[in-house]
């Protein structure tokens, strides 16, 4: 449908919005309200696209993201398995710029003045805003494991911010000899993609079983239970029996120290493990700029209004995706995409007077466990008084027939194509 028609459908009644659509471009550029989005991941890309597309140029949207491309953390485990190329999970911002008029600043946000409503970039440029969206994803708490810092992650990759780290982990797995030991250390809660480390365990096992079947995987966990646990453990037994050992926190599984030269991992229980490959995923917190802007609380994450994802700390600022405290919603690409649509609606309502509807959120996480087998978990959410609340939820069952699992596996691929189009196309 035509863009003008689309805007009409949205029920814009504000004089500002209607007037600006018809106004000459130059006039618009001088007067239209400004939205700055920090971070071009699942949440940031979606909100930039939706605000720009649905306001049809009535709002200026600036996306601050240093990288030229975005490699999705979701589906990066399929790359580790050798199922997908890195290119197939890497996306460009060109459509956001050329189709919707988003201004992409390939620059780093280094400061935010929420009083003066200005974002300062590493280049020195200052971007004033009417509304700011902070979607920086995660940073790591490098002080939680002795010997593990950013430099150590070049030897023992976390591979939990996709791209070079993921490629490094894959290279190490390829170079490993048959009979080696892979250590996977999942982080403590809360963290990005709760089933992620366990899907990764499944898919690394999938790769090793085909190429290096004498190898072992030790999952050294700080937790005593994990997302989709029964489903993963059932799959590990059925497909990779004897290859995977999970050591929970209560049995001393937490990694307390690493030595990257000796390639050893020390567990809380006292065991020192010699690793061929070590995938250490540290504890996490909201991305750096959220802390710099003063948006995070003592938990390390950013409190939000459940009806809009607006920061409860600073006015005219939204925090979405992994960096936010979305209570029952997990930190996932799907959740960030869903939250971004609520933010985009609220921004258009606030700046243009467009219709506003009650916030609705959704999440679904597919996890692949073997070639033709995937499981899923998901929920619908609404805004409660103080937090986002679950309306309805579901999870795959352990005893599902193979054809259901194969269908879920195919569904996951279809979902990946759709959601990345929704974000970047």
């Amino acid at each position: 449908m035509s863009r003008l028609t689309r805007r009409g459908l949205l029920g814009t009644t504000a004089v500002l919005g209607v007037g600006l659509v018809a106004a000459p471009h130059v006039l618009r550029a001088q007067t239209r309200p400004k939205v700055v989005v920090i971070g071009g991941g699942a949440g940031g890309a979606t909100v930039a696209k939706y605000v720009a597309r649905d306001s049809k140029g009535a709002i200026e949207v600036a996306l601050v993201e240093p990288k030229e491309t975005y490699t999705t953390c979701f589906y990066s485990n399929l790359y580790l398995a050798g199922w997908r190329s890195l290119e197939s999970i890497t996306h460009r911002y060109v459509n956001l710029v050329e189709k919707y008029g988003v201004i992409h600043y390939r620059d780093m946000a280094v400061d935010v003045d929420t009083g003066k409503k200005v974002v300062r970039l590493a280049s020195g440029r200052e971007l004033p805003y009417d509304k700011l969206v902070v979607a920086p994803g995660i940073d790591f708490r490098f002080d939680t494991i002795e010997g593990y810092d950013e430099a150590a992650s070049m030897d023992m990759p976390h591979a939990y911010q996709a791209g070079e780290q993921t490629a490094l982990l894959r290279t190490q797995l390829e170079a490993m000899e048959d009979g080696g030991t892979v250590v996977i250390a999942p982080p403590p809660n809360p963290y990005r993609c709760p089933p992620g480390p366990y899907e990764r365990t499944s898919l690394i096992a999938n790769y090793l079983k085909k190429t290096k079947p004498k190898s072992k995987i030790l999952v050294c966990d700080s937790k005593d239970k994990f997302s989709k646990q029964a489903l993963f453990q059932d799959a590990w037994q059925r497909y990779y029996d004897g290859m995977i050992e999970w050591i929970p926190g209560e049995l001393g599984g937490r990694v307390v120290k690493v030595d990257t030269k000796a390639m050893t991992v020390t567990l809380e229980g006292g065991d020192v493990i010699k690793a061929s490959v070590a995938n250490i995923i540290p504890a996490q917190k909201a991305g750096w700029i959220a802390h710099r802007a003063g948006l995070a609380n003592d938990s390390g994450w950013c409190p939000i209004d459940p009806d809009s994802m607006a920061s409860t700390v600073a006015q005219d600022v939204y925090v979405l995706g992994d960096a936010s405290i979305a209570s029952k919603m997990p930190k996932s690409g799907f959740a960030a995409n869903s939250q971004a649509k609520v933010v985009a609606m609220d921004i258009r309502h606030q700046l243009l007077g467009d219709k506003r509807f009650p916030a609705r959120y959704r999440n679904t996480c597919w996890s692949s466990v073997a070639d033709n087998d995937a499981v899923k978990v998901g929920a619908s959410y609404k805004a409660g008084e103080t937090q986002i609340e679950v309306v309805d939820k579901f999870i795959s069952q352990v005893d599902e027939p193979p054809e259901v699992r194969a269908q879920t596996r195919a569904e996951a691929d279809a979902w990946y194509d759709s959601i990345t189009q929704d974000m970047f196309a």
Binding site: M1, S2, T5, L9, L10, G11, Y50, F334, N337, S338, K341, M345, K355, F357, R360, R362, T364, K376, G378, A379, S380, V391, D392, K393, F394, I395, S396, Q407, A410, E411, D413, A414, W415, D417, S418, I419, Q421, D422, A425
Partner: protein, 109 residues
């Protein structure tokens, strides 16, 4: 997957043959557009070789009946069951109105 593709192709054909019903009167397409943002996380904008259909291609009556069948559990996909259970009649009618509108815009019935 092949079977699903065939179903999508058939439905698309039906839609283009003009069998889709008129837009239900009580549905608000603007509300439907907002609600549809939830759908686009999984449903593609156009035909793909995936297993998830583009929703604007489904005839209106079929679309409404499918959501109701997910609500009762008659249709089995747990993702869609959870989605449908979170929708009331007003939401379903609004979604149907929006997708019918979208189909018109795309040159369908």
């Amino acid at each position: 997957m092949t079977r699903a593709r065939a179903i999508v192709a058939t439905l698309a054909g039906v839609s283009l043959l003009g069998l889709a019903g008129p837009v239900r009167g009580e549905g608000d397409p603007a509300y439907g557009e907002y609600l549809a943002n939830e759908c686009t996380a999984c449903h593609p904008p156009d035909v793909t070789d995936g297993v998830i259909p583009p929703l604007w291609m489904l005839p209106t009556d079929y679309f409404i009946e499918a959501l109701k069948a997910y609500q009762t559990g008659e249709r089995e996909n747990p993702v869609m069951q959870a989605v449908a259970r979170a929708l009331g009649d007003e939401e379903i009618a609004s979604l149907a109105a929006y997708f019918a509108y979208l189909r018109e815009q795309k040159g369908g019935s």
